[in-house]
C-alpha cells in the first residue's frame, strides 16, 4: 500500500496521533505526553497507538516500568478512622493516663478490630518500644512514639485520592508502604503498588513520511460532510472529504410497504380488470336468501346448518326480502316456477330466507349483481371476505377471501366456460397445462373443476366453475346463460409468501410482515 492510500484509510484517531508528531517528526514522546497533546481518552489513545504500531507507522523507543502507589479502600478507611496501629497506640496511651490496664481482648472489643489487625499492630509497636506486654496479657504504653504510626499517618494524607511514584518517597516511607501493601494472600492493607508501563514512542520512517503528507493536507481542510454553505460559497474546492468505510453494514430501516398478501390480491385484481372484469362489492352480513336460496341451495341442504354457517345474534332476521325475487325463488325451489325445473319439491320457508348470516360464499355477491340488471355481455368479479363455521388450523381459516365472479352473454356455453378457465389458468397461475374435471356445485350445471400444472406446485386445483342453473338466473331476471366461477388462490399466495400455515396470511408478527419480500 502506498503512503497516500494508507493515509486515506486512517481512522481519525490515528490521524490525530500522527499529527501530534507532525511538528517534530523525530521527537520521542511518552504516552502521557501524547495523551496531553492529543486530548484523547486513555482508551482511545491506546487503540490508536496499537493500530499505528500494527501498521508500522509508529515504533516503541523505550519502555519504562514505574511502580505507583495508591490507597486501597482499606487505606481510605484508615485515613478517615485511623489505622489499627494508631488506634492501639492511642488506646494504650488513654489507659495509661487513667491508670487502667488493658488486655488485648479489651482493645479488640473496645475498638471493634479484627484480632489479626490488633495482634499485628501490637507486635510492631512492641518492636518499636512504644508499648510493653506485661503480666496477665496486659499491654501498657511506654510513652515513646511509634515511627510506623507517624509515617503511616503522613502517607495516608499524601496519597489520599492520588497516585505517586514509589521512588518519590523516602526509604523509611517506602519500607512502610512495602510492609502494608496489598499482596497475594493479604488483601486487608491500605496501600497498593501498581507497575505502570510508560512507552516512549517515535515515528518510523514511513510514519515520518505519512505525518509530513498529513500536515501538507492539513492546509486543505478535511470535512466529513458536504454542507449547503460549502456549496454556496464554493469553498468545497479547498476541502478534503473524509473517505468512508463503505463496506460497513447499512443501518436498517423499515419502509412503508403494502402487505404481501394484499399485494398478491392486488395483482389478481389487476389481472381480472385487464381481462375485462368489473369489480362487485357486497355486504359482510347477508340474508340466507341471497347467501343460499337465490343460489338454489334447498333449505334442507347440509351446508346450511349451524355447523357450516355463522348466524347473527341480533337482529336475527331481515324484515323482508325484495320482490319479485322472493316469490320467484320460492316457486323455483318448490316446483320449479317458470324455470323449466321440477324444483326441490318441499315447502319453502320465507322466514328462514330472512335469517341473517355472515356471508359464507362470495357467490352471494354475484347473486345480487344478477338481480340488479347486469350488463350483457358482462364480466364481474369480487374478492369477498367470507366466513365459515370451521375449526381454525394450519389449513382451515374461519375468515378468508374468496375470488369469484360471473360472465354473462349470448355466447356463453360449456365450451366458452372451458375457454375462460383456460384463460384463468394462463393469466393467474402461469400454467400451460390444464385438466377439466366434472364437479358438483348446488348452483351450477354443468360444473367443472379446474386443475392446472403450477410451475412450482405441480398439479393443483385452481378453481371451480359452471353454468348457473336456470333456477338461479331466471328468478333473478337474467335470461342469457351465465358462467359462475371461483378461484382458490390461497395455496398460491402461501407459496408466493413462503408460508405453510394459512393463519399466517393474517399474521400479527410485524417482523415477518416487514421481512416478507412478497409475490414478485
Amino acid at each position: 500500500m502506498d503512503i497516500s492510500s494508507l493515509i486515506d484509510s486512517l481512522h481519525p484517531l490515528e490521524v490525530k496521533v500522527l499529527s501530534t508528531f507532525g511538528a517534530k517528526p523525530s521527537a520521542v514522546l511518552q504516552t502521557e505526553q501524547l495523551s496531553q497533546s492529543t486530548g484523547l481518552e486513555p482508551s482511545q489513545l491506546s487503540m490508536a497507538v496499537e493500530w499505528l504500531l500494527a501498521k508500522s507507522l509508529l515504533t516503541v523507543d523505550a519502555e519504562t516500568v514505574t511502580p505507583n502507589v495508591s490507597l486501597t479502600k482499606i487505606g481510605e478507611l484508615y485515613f478517615e478512622k485511623y489505622s489499627p496501629i494508631e488506634r492501639v497506640l492511642s488506646a494504650t496511651r488513654d489507659a495509661a493516663k487513667t491508670g487502667k490496664r488493658l488486655t488485648i481482648q479489651d482493645i479488640q472489643s473496645r475498638e471493634g478490630l479484627e484480632p489479626a489487625d490488633v495482634s499485628g499492630a501490637i507486635g510492631r509497636l512492641k518492636k518499636e518500644g512504644a508499648l510493653l506486654i506485661i503480666q496477665g496479657g496486659c499491654v501498657e504504653s511506654t510513652g515513646r512514639p511509634s515511627q510506623t504510626a507517624e509515617t503511616m499517618r503522613g502517607l495516608l494524607q499524601q496519597l489520599r485520592g492520588t497516585t505517586r511514584d514509589l521512588k518519590a518517597f523516602s526509604n523509611a516511607q517506602q519500607q512502610v508502604i512495602q510492609d502494608h501493601s496489598v499482596k497475594r494472600g493479604n488483601a486487608r492493607e491500605p496501600f497498593r503498588i501498581d507497575d505502570r508501563v510508560a512507552r516512549s514512542l517515535k515515528l518510523s520512517p514511513a510514519g515520518i513520511e505519512a505525518a509530513q503528507q498529513l500536515s501538507r493536507q492539513k492546509t486543505a481542510d478535511e470535512v466529513s460532510q458536504l454542507t449547503p454553505e460549502l456549496l454556496k460559497d464554493g469553498s468545497w474546492r479547498t476541502k478534503r472529504f473524509r473517505k468512508y468505510t463503505i463496506s460497513l453494514r447499512a443501518p436498517r430501516i423499515a419502509p412503508g410497504k403494502r402487505h404481501p398478501y394484499r399485494e398478491f390480491l392486488d395483482t389478481v385484481k389487476t389481472k381480472l380488470v385487464s381481462m375485462g372484469f368489473q369489480e362487485m362489492r357486497g355486504s359482510l352480513v347477508e340474508t340466507e336468501f341471497w347467501n343460499m336460496d337465490a343460489l338454489f341451495m334447498p333449505q334442507f341442504h347440509p351446508a346450511r346448518d349451524i355447523h357450516d354457517v355463522y348466524f347473527v345474534q341480533e337482529p336475527t332476521h331481515a324484515p323482508s326480502i325484495d320482490e319479485p325475487f322472493l316469490s320467484r325463488v320460492t316457486q323455483a325451489h318448490q316446483h320449479g316456477g317458470d324455470t323449466g325445473s321440477t324444483g326441490w319439491n318441499y315447502s319453502f320457508n320465507a322466514e328462514r330466507a330472512c335469517r341473517l348470516v355472515l356471508r359464507s360464499q362470495g357467490t352471494a355477491v354475484s347473486a345480487h349483481t344478477l338481480a340488479t340488471q347486469p350488463d350483457v355481455p358482462g364480466k364481474y368479479f369480487s374478492i369477498a371476505r367470507c366466513f365459515r363455521y370451521d375449526q381454525v388450523d394450519a389449513t382451515h381459516a374461519t375468515d378468508f377471501f374468496q375470488v369469484e365472479g360471473i360472465v354473462l352473454g349470448d355466447d356463453i356455453n360449456f365450451r366458452t366456460l372451458l375457454g375462460l378457465l383456460n384463460l384463468f389458468a394462463r393469466e393467474v397461475a402461469q400454467a400451460k397445462e390444464v385438466k377439466f374435471l366434472p364437479a358438483y356445485f348446488p348452483f351450477t350445471e354443468p360444473s367443472v373443476e379446474l386443475h392446472v400444472r403450477h410451475p412450482k406446485l405441480g398439479w393443483m386445483e385452481l378453481g371451480g366453475a359452471g353454468l348457473f342453473r336456470p333456477e338461479v338466473t331466471l328468478p333473478l331476471g337474467v335470461t342469457v346463460p351465465v358462467i359462475a366461477w371461483r378461484l382458490g388462490l390461497d395455496r398460491m399466495a402461501m407459496v408466493a409468501l413462503g408460508i405453510h400455515d394459512i393463519r399466517e396470511l393474517f399474521t400479527d408478527n410485524l417482523d415477518l410482515i416487514r421481512s416478507t419480500r412478497g409475490a414478485v
Binding site: R258, F277, L437, P438, P442, V448, D508
Partner: protein, 572 residues
C-alpha cells in the same frame, strides 16, 4: 360430499359382474374413470387394496358405494345399462308389508325387498353397512327423512307389520346390548336412542316393525333387533327395509339397495307395501319400483348449452352409455333416468351427463369473444389511492381477520356499554376469538402492535378494509363500510405526528376537514378529535388511553386515526 372406503378387489369383481372373472384396473385408469362419478381418490393402501374416494355430487346417493361406482363405469364400458328383471316381473303372491294407521304424522312411508342367493362376503358386508350409514346420514338428513334396516330373511315370518305402539308396549334386545328393553328405554339408554331420539321428540306413540309372529324387527329410525337385525358374513338371504317421511326418497333408497345387491348376484324379490290410505303411488305400492318419468328434450337445447353440434344419435349414445333410457325422434330425444337416480330437475342436468359421458376432454375450449370493459369499484379505486399515500408516508400495511372477539373489539378499548362498542355478534359461537365482526379498525392494528414489541421502532401501521357497523336502518341490521386505520407507536409518539399524516391525506383527497373535541373512552381526554368533513364526522384521531395500552400489554405510547373511506369515496 361423502368420503367412502372401498376395496380395489371388490371394485374389480363388481366391474366384471357376478360369476365373471375380476377385471383388474390400474390406479391411473381408476382415477380417469372416477371422472364419471365426480369422484376423487383421496388415499390408498396398496397392501390391503383399500381406497378412499370422495364423491362430490350430493344429488347422486347411488354413487356413494362401491357398487354404484362400479355400475357407472361398467355401463359406460358396455354402452348401456343391463336390465334389472325385478322391476318388471310380477309375482302373483308377493311378500307383504302392512302399514297400520296413525303413522302419517310421524314416519309414514316404508319400502322393502328380499334378496336371496348372494352369500354375504366380508367386503360386501362392509359396503352394506357403509352405504346404510352414508345414505341415512347425508341423503336421509341424519335419519330424519330416510333410514335403513337390514335383516336375516330366514328369521322373519311374513306379512311384516309397520306399526305404531306406545313406548312401553314393545320391547326387544337392540343391537349393541344384551338385555331386553322397551322402546322408551332405548330412547333413554341406547347410544342410538340418545343420538337420534330427537327425531321422535314429542311423540307418545312410536314406529315399530314386527313380523307375523309379533317378533320385533326394529324400532325405526333408531335401532334394529339383535336377533333378526344382525347380518353376518355367510348369510345368503336378506330383508331390506327403508322408512321415512318422503315417499319418493324412501323408494329411491330401496332401489339403490336393490340395485347394489342385484349387482352382487342376489335375486331381488319385491315386497308389496299396503297402506291404510292412498299415497301418491297408490294404496298398494310395490317396491323397488322405477319412479322415473321420461322427459322430452330438443337436441338443440343440449347442443346450444354445450356449444357443440352433436346430433340426436350422438346425444342418445352418450346418455345411454351413462345409464339413461333414450329414444330419439327427429330433433328430439326422450330420456328417462335409471331407477336408482332421481336427480333430473332440469334439462341442464341432462346436458351435464352428456358432457360427462363423452368426457370433458372431448370438448375444445373456446374463448368468450364478446368485449367487456373491466374496472374497479369506486371504493376500491379510492382505497387503493389512499393505501398508496399511506405507504408513501412510511406506513406498513397489515391485514387482519374481520372476525374478532368482543373482548378485543370492545372491552379492551374501554367501549363496553357505549355506542362505539356495538357489534354484530355471532349466535352459534365456536370460539370466542371469532365471535363478532369488527366495528372499527384500531383493534386490528393493536393486535399487531401487541405481538410486535421486539420489532424495531418506530412502528407505523395501517389497514384499509371492511368493518360491519350495526345500523338498524339497514335491512341486514348493519352496514359494511371500508375504513382506513393508521397507528404510530414508539417512545415519543405524539398526537401531532398522526395529525400531520391525516392532514396530508385530506390534502390529496381534496377534502377539507376540522378536528372537533369529542369524548371517546379509547383515547386520552383532550387529545382526541372527531374528524369532521362537510358537516359529517368521518373519523377520529387521538392518543390511545394508557389503560387501553395496558390492557393490550403495549409498552410504548400509540397515536392513531381512523377514517371512513366509503363516506369520502362517495363524494369524490
Amino acid at each position: 360430499m361423502p368420503t367412502i372406503t372401498i376395496f380395489k378387489q371388490d371394485l374389480e369383481g363388481l366391474l366384471a359382474g357376478p360369476g365373471e372373472a375380476r377385471q383388474s384396473i390400474g390406479i391411473e385408469q381408476l382415477e380417469e374413470s372416477l371422472m364419471l362419478v365426480k369422484g376423487e381418490l383421496k388415499g390408498q393402501n396398496p397392501d390391503t387394496g383399500e381406497l378412499r374416494i370422495e364423491l362430490q355430487d350430493s344429488n347422486r346417493p347411488d354413487l356413494w358405494c362401491c357398487e354404484g361406482i362400479a355400475r357407472q363405469i361398467r355401463v359406460k364400458r358396455q354402452g348401456s345399462l343391463p336390465k334389472y328383471d325385478f322391476l318388471t316381473t310380477k309375482s302373483k303372491s308377493p311378500k307383504q308389508l302392512n302399514v297400520n294407521p296413525g303413522l302419517e304424522g310421524i314416519r309414514p312411508y316404508v319400502a322393502a325387498c328380499a334378496a336371496t342367493g348372494y352369500c354375504v362376503t366380508q367386503e360386501g358386508l362392509a359396503q352394506l353397512i357403509q352405504t346404510q350409514e352414508k345414505l341415512a346420514e347425508m341423503f336421509g338428513r341424519k335419519r330424519r327423512t330416510v333410514s335403513i334396516g337390514i335383516y336375516r330373511l330366514a328369521a322373519i315370518e311374513f306379512p311384516v307389520t309397520y306399526d305404531l305402539v306406545k313406548p312401553d308396549e314393545a320391547s326387544f334386545t337392540p343391537l349393541g346390548m344384551d338385555t331386553v328393553m322397551t322402546l322408551g328405554e332405548m330412547l333413554l339408554v341406547h347410544p342410538k336412542g340418545l343420538e337420534f331420539g330427537g327425531i321422535l321428540a314429542g311423540q307418545d306413540r312410536l314406529p315399530f316393525l314386527r313380523d307375523a309372529k309379533r317378533q320385533a324387527l326394529s324400532f325405526p329410525p333408531i335401532i334394529n333387533s339383535r336377533e333378526v337385525g344382525e347380518v353376518l358374513v355367510g348369510d345368503d338371504a336378506l330383508f331390506v327395509e327403508v322408512t321415512g317421511t318422503d315417499l319418493s326418497m324412501v323408494v329411491l333408497t330401496l332401489n339403490i339397495f336393490a340395485a347394489n345387491l342385484a349387482d352382487r348376484g342376489a335375486r331381488i324379490e319385491p315386497v308389496e307395501v299396503r297402506y291404510p290410505h292412498k299415497t301418491s303411488l297408490g294404496k298398494s305400492v310395490m317396491t323397488p319400483q322405477d319412479l322415473g318419468k321420461s322427459r322430452k328434450l330438443p337436441v338443440g337445447t343440449i347442443e346450444q348449452a354445450l356449444g357443440q353440434p352433436l346430433g340426436a344419435q350422438e346425444v342418445a349414445k352418450a346418455l345411454t352409455a351413462y345409464g339413461y333410457a333414450v329414444t330419439t325422434k327427429d330433433k328430439e330425444v326422450r330420456v328417462a333416468l335409471p331407477f336408482y337416480r332421481q336427480d333430473l330437475m332440469h334439462a341442464m342436468d341432462v346436458v351435464e351427463d352428456v358432457a360427462i359421458s363423452r368426457g370433458y376432454s372431448e370438448f375444445l375450449p373456446v374463448m368468450p369473444s364478446q368485449f367487456t370493459v373491466g374496472g374497479l369499484s369506486r371504493i376500491e379505486e379510492f382505497s387503493d389511492r389512499i393505501r398508496a399515500l399511506m405507504v408513501g408516508m412510511g406506513f406498513q400495511e397489515i391485514i387482519s381477520n374481520i372476525l374478532g372477539s368482543p373482548q378485543d373489539l370492545r372491552d379492551a378499548m374501554r367501549l363496553d356499554g357505549t355506542e362505539w362498542g356495538k357489534l354484530v355478534e355471532v349466535e352459534n359461537v365456536m370460539s370466542q376469538n371469532f365471535s363478532a365482526l369488527r366495528q372499527w379498525m384500531l383493534p386490528s392494528l393493536l393486535r399487531v402492535e401487541t405481538a410486535s414489541n421486539r420489532a424495531f421502532y418506530p412502528h407505523r401501521l395501517f389497514e384499509a378494509g371492511e368493518v360491519a357497523r350495526p345500523d338498524p336502518t339497514q335491512s341486514v341490521g348493519s352496514r359494511t363500510v371500508t375504513l382506513l386505520g393508521g397507528m404510530i407507536a414508539h417512545a415519543d409518539a405524539h398526537f401531532s405526528e398522526a395529525h400531520s399524516c391525516l392532514d396530508t391525506l385530506f390534502y390529496y383527497m381534496n377534502h377539507t376537514y376540522s378536528l372537533e373535541p369529542i369524548q371517546h373512552p379509547s383515547f386520552l381526554a383532550g387529545r382526541i378529535g372527531g374528524i369532521v368533513s362537510n358537516g359529517i364526522q368521518v373519523g377520529v384521531i387521538g392518543e390511545l388511553h394508557p389503560e387501553v395500552l395496558e390492557r393490550w400489554q403495549i409498552g410504548v405510547p400509540a397515536v392513531a386515526f381512523e377514517i371512513d373511506l366509503t363516506e369520502l369515496a362517495e363524494r369524490s
